[in-house]
């Protein structure tokens, strides 16, 4: 692991979709123990910004840096220390939650034994669905499997796109606690959400995407 301080920063980011510019001139620096909540209406580019931060897509202009280095130079380190949950859960419907977790860990080059996987899933309230294929789980339960996989990753930086979607009240409370523990333990998180999320006491910073919410429907 690099000795430099864990910082995620982006400089003068510009993102376009086809001809249309989503945002430009985005600057931010996030350090260990901080979370970044990205706000903005539908279609303003929140997801696009998150995908730029993961390195899955490339900005039209500007750059993203991890520990002070450009992403494409440090992608191996970055991908080891970062975990992403997008709109899609990234779990296989034909496998059980335990198999999904273990496979994801192996692909990332870690080992995870069955007991560890089980512990994580029980922690997320999936104790009763351990050996069912994910196909028969509900949307919210599948979301929880994805979150369990996030915990198993031991990543320093969490990038979460609408993590609360599909979760019930207990699930939301659970995720809030996990996020707080992660941030207070020196971790970092970047997330978007339309639902209220209470992370009082933790160091939360916000960033608005696409300027003030401008809706043509506003009266």
């Amino acid at each position: 692991m690099s000795e430099s301080v864990a910082t995620l920063s982006f400089h003068d980011l510009r993102c376009t979709r086809g001809e249309r510019e989503l945002f430009s001139g985005m600057n931010f620096t996030l350090q260990g123990g901080e979370a970044l909540l990205i706000q903005g209406g539908n279609g303003q580019g929140k997801t696009s910004l998150l995908r730029l931060l993961t390195g899955l897509s490339q900005p039209a202009e500007g750059e993203v840096r991890w520990r002070g280095e450009k992403l494409d130079k440090t992608s191996e380190t970055y991908h080891r220390e970062m975990a992403y949950i997008g709109h899609l859960n990234g779990i296989k419907d034909d496998l059980t939650p335990i198999e999904n977790l273990r496979l994801a860990s192996q692909l990332a080059g870690r080992t995870l034994n069955e007991t560890q996987a089980e512990e994580r899933l029980v922690q997320l309230g999936l104790g009763r669905c351990l050996d069912l294929p994910c196909r028969v789980l509900s949307f919210g339960q599948r979301r929880r499997v994805a979150l369990a996989s996030l915990l198993c990753s031991n990543a320093l930086l969490w990038i979460l796109d609408e993590p609360l979607t599909g979760l019930d009240v207990h699930g939301v409370a659970l995720l809030e606690n996990l996020l707080k523990a992660h941030i207070d333990g020196g971790g970092m998180a970047v997330l978007t959400t339309h639902q209220p999320i209470s992370l009082e006491g933790s160091n939360i910073r916000t960033l608005r995407v696409g300027g003030p919410a401008q809706s043509s429907l506003a009266s």
Binding site: S57, D94, L103, Q106, L107, P133
Partner: protein, 222 residues
Amino acid sequence: MLSFLFTVIRRDLMLAARRRGDWLTSQFFFVMVASMFPLGIGPDPVTLKLIGPGVVWVSALLASLLSLPRLLAEDYRDGSLEQMLLTPQPPVLLALGKSLAHWLIYGIPLLIISPILGIQFALPAEAIAVLMLSLLIGTPILSLLGSVGAALTLGLRGSGVLLTLLILPLYVPVLIFGAGAVDAAMAGTGAESHLSLLGAILVLTLLVAPWIAAAALKVSIE
């Protein structure tokens, strides 16, 4: 690095084992297409022997093509593809692993079924052996080239048809040398030259195709 490659292959084999229906469709298709020709043309052994190698090879191409959408499209749809691209391993290994898994799942069974089809076309035992050998060298090329097409057409509307138009022309050399090897063996001129050219194509695609597929993946996933 190698353990990542093996994990990708093991993962796909495991998923295929959970979905045997999908897997069998491709093999049945292969047998059905090849069996239509003797029914349509008639049972004259001379004609059958003449068209046999070509028909079996064309059927193998089509069966391989039919299974290509499964190579990446499902992983793309459920988001596991982007998760695999976010692992610390290079995407080239992912592309290589996916193609090799595709070959093991869909290519090897074609190889095993082919002698039965050979008998259907009244091919002599020697020609059947060459047919199997040509399929052994040829089918991995189909999977490797197919991974490029599958990566390029990922997430596009009507990707199935586009994939066919894109990939079939690339399959032509494999078809020519594959079927040619069997013809040459039957004509008594020796299949070595055809098989070694097929081997050369395999080495070339093995070296080049995963890189192109990886680059195409990165573009498609954006």
